[in-house]
C-alpha cells in the first residue's frame, strides 16, 4: 500500500467518521465542530484527486466562511449552544431503512462497475481551466447560480427581518 492510498483512506475515514458524529451527536455545538473535520476530509480528498483549486475553495468557503458563520450562529443564539437534538424512533427506523437501501445501491454500483481508468495526465494546476470553463462552456450555470444566490439572499433577509419585526 503506497502512501497515496494510505492518505486517501485516512481522509476518507476522517470524512465519514466525523459525518457520522455530526449526524448522531445530540449536542448541536459538537455537531458544528465535528463538521469542521468533515469539510477538511473532503478537501483532502480533493487534493488527492488532483483538484487543488477545488480543495482550496473548499477550505476557504466551507471552513473559513460557512462553518464559521454556522458556529457564530450557534454561539450567539441564546439556548442554542446547549440545545439537544433528538430524532423520533419511527423516523429513525425509516431513515435507517432508506439509508441501507441507498448504501446497497451504491455498493452494488461500486463493486459491479469496471471503473475504466482515464490515461490523461493530470493538469499541473486547475484554476485557469476552471476559470476558462466558467467563462465559456459553463457560463450559464455560473449565471444561474448567481440568480440562485440572489433569490436565496433576498428571501433569507426578508424572513429574518420579518421575524424581528414580529416581536
Amino acid at each position: 500500500m503506497d502512501i497515496k492510498t494510505l492518505l486517501e483512506l485516512m481522509f476518507g475515514l476522517l470524512t465519514v467518521a466525523s459525518a457520522i458524529w455530526v449526524a448522531f451527536t445530540p449536542k448541536l455545538l459538537h455537531a458544528g465542530f465535528s463538521l469542521l473535520f468533515t469539510f477538511f476530509g473532503v478537501a483532502g480528498l480533493y487534493v488527492m484527486l488532483g483538484a487543488d483549486f477545488l480543495a482550496a475553495v473548499q477550505v476557504l468557503v466551507y471552513i473559513g466562511g460557512i462553518l464559521v458563520l454556522l458556529l457564530f450562529g450557534i454561539l450567539l443564539t441564546t439556548a442554542m449552544p446547549t440545545a439537544e437534538l433528538t430524532v423520533g424512533g419511527t423516523r429513525r427506523g425509516q431513515g435507517l431503512a432508506l439509508g441501507m437501501l441507498l448504501l446497497g445501491l451504491l455498493l452494488l454500483a461500486v463493486f459491479r462497475a469496471g471503473w475504466p481508468l482515464s490515461m490523461n495526465a493530470l493538469p499541473e494546476t486547475t484554476a485557469s481551466d476552471i476559470g476558462k470553463g466558467f467563462m465559456t462552456t459553463w457560463l450559464l450555470p455560473f449565471e444561474v447560480a448567481s440568480i440562485l444566490l440572489l433569490g436565496a439572499m433576498l428571501g433569507a433577509l426578508h424572513l429574518a427581518r420579518r421575524a424581528g419585526e414580529d416581536q
Binding site: W115, T136, W138, L139, V144, L150, A152, L154
Partner: protein
Amino acid sequence: MDFSGLNVAALLPELLVSGGGLLVMALHAAFRGRQDRQLVWVSLASVVAALAFCLNPLTVEPGYFGSALSDPMAFAGRITVLAALVLLLPGGVAYARSRNLPQAEYLSLSLFAATGMMALASAGDLIVLFLAVEVLSISLYCLAGLMGERESSRQAALTYFLAGSFASGFLLFGMALLSGSAGTLDIAALGTGLARVSGTGTQWVALGGVVLMIAGLLFKVGAVPFHSWVAEVYSGSPTVVTAFMSTAAKAAAFAGFGRVLLALGSVSEAWVPLVGICAGATMILGNFTALVQGNFKRMLAFSSVAHAGYLLLGLMAVGAAGESLEAVIFYLLPYVLANAALFLVAAKVSQAGSGNYKLDDYKGLARRNPWLAGLLALLLLGLAGMPPLAGFMGKFMVFSAAVRAGHTGLAVLGILTSVVAVFTYLRPVVYAWFHEPEESGALNLDGGLAFVVWVAGAGLLLLGLWPRLWLDLCAGIGV
C-alpha cells in the same frame, strides 16, 4: 477564449425575466418602497416582453455553448410558465397588498423562480438542470414563507424546504452517478454515453444514477410514493403561491425531466417499469384522495397529484419510444390555465365565505354570480377532461401515446381513474348549481380576477376545439 458558441439571444426570455426581477428590487430600493404599487407593471412588462420573444423568437440556435436549448419543448415550457405568471402576478400583488405583505419581494422572487423554471425547461446539460431546479425551489420556499401570515404557512414553507432539499440530494447524487458513467454532462449525449458502457460493469453505476434521479423527479413533481408533502405544502401555503407551485413549477419540472427521460430512452427497460408503477399508483391515489376532500384547496392539491400521474404516463410512453413530447407539452398548458384560475377563484370564494376553503362555500354560487359559477364548471370540467375542452385533448394525447407504446393497461387505468376525477370535480359544480346559497348577495369579481377566469376559460375552449393552435406553435417556433 472562443465566444462563438455564446449566442446570448437564445437566453433572452430568461434574461428579460430575471432582469425584471432585478429592476423591481432596484426600483423598490431607489424609491424606498413608496412606488411599490407600480412595480407589478414593471414585472408584467418583462414577462410580456419575454412572452413576445418566445412567440416570435429571433434565433433558434442553442446558446451558451449548448447549455440553453431552443427546441419546441423549451419554448413550450417557457410559454407555459410565462402564461401562468401573467395570470398569477396581479392576483398575487393584490393578495400581498391586502395583507400588508411585501410586494417588491414577492414580485422579484416570483420572477427569479420563473427564471429557474424557464432555465429548467430549456436546460441542455445536467448542471444547468440542477441549478435551475434549485433556483425555482429556493425562490418558492421563500415565497411560501414570505407571503404567509399564519403558522400553517411557515410550516408549509419548512416542509417544502425539507422535502425539496431531500429531493435535490437524490437528484444530485443520481446526476453524479449518471454523468460519471456516461462520461458527459450533456443531456442529449447521455443516451449514446450510456450505450457505450452497456454490458460492462459501469452500467450498474448508471442504473443507480437513473433510479436516484427518477426518485428525485418523483419527489419534485409530487408523485407517489413521494407525494406526502404535497397536501401540507399546497394547503398551507398562501393560495397565490400554491397556484404558482402547482402550475408553473410543475410544468417546468415536467419539461426538464421529460428531456432527461427522453435522453434515457435507450435504457428505457431500466426505468419504464419503475415509472409505470409510480404513474399508476399516483393516478389511483391522487384521484381517490381528492374525491374524499371536503376542502377545495386540498382537493385541488390532490387532483394535481393525480395529474402528475397522467403526465408521468405520457412521459413514460413517449420517452421510452424516443418520440416527441407533444402529448406532455399539450397536456400542460390547459392544466396550468385551469389550475391557476381555480386557485384564485378558490381564494376569492373562500374569502367571501368560511375563510378556510370549505366546499360548502360553493353552495348556491350560481345564484350569487352565474357567470362565475359557469366558468367554474367550465374550468373544473376542463381539468376533468370532458370534451370539447382542452383537458380532453390532453388526456386523449397522453392515453393514445400510452396505447401506442403498448401500455394499454395503464391507459385503461388512467381512463377509469379519470371517471373518479370527474366525480370529484363535479362536487363543487353540484354545490354551485343545484344547491341554495347559504349567504345571499352577489359575489362580484374584481377586474383582475375576472380577466384571469375568462382568459383561462376561453383558453380551455379554444385549445380544445383547435388543439392545432398550440401544437403548431410549439412545432413552428422551435424547428
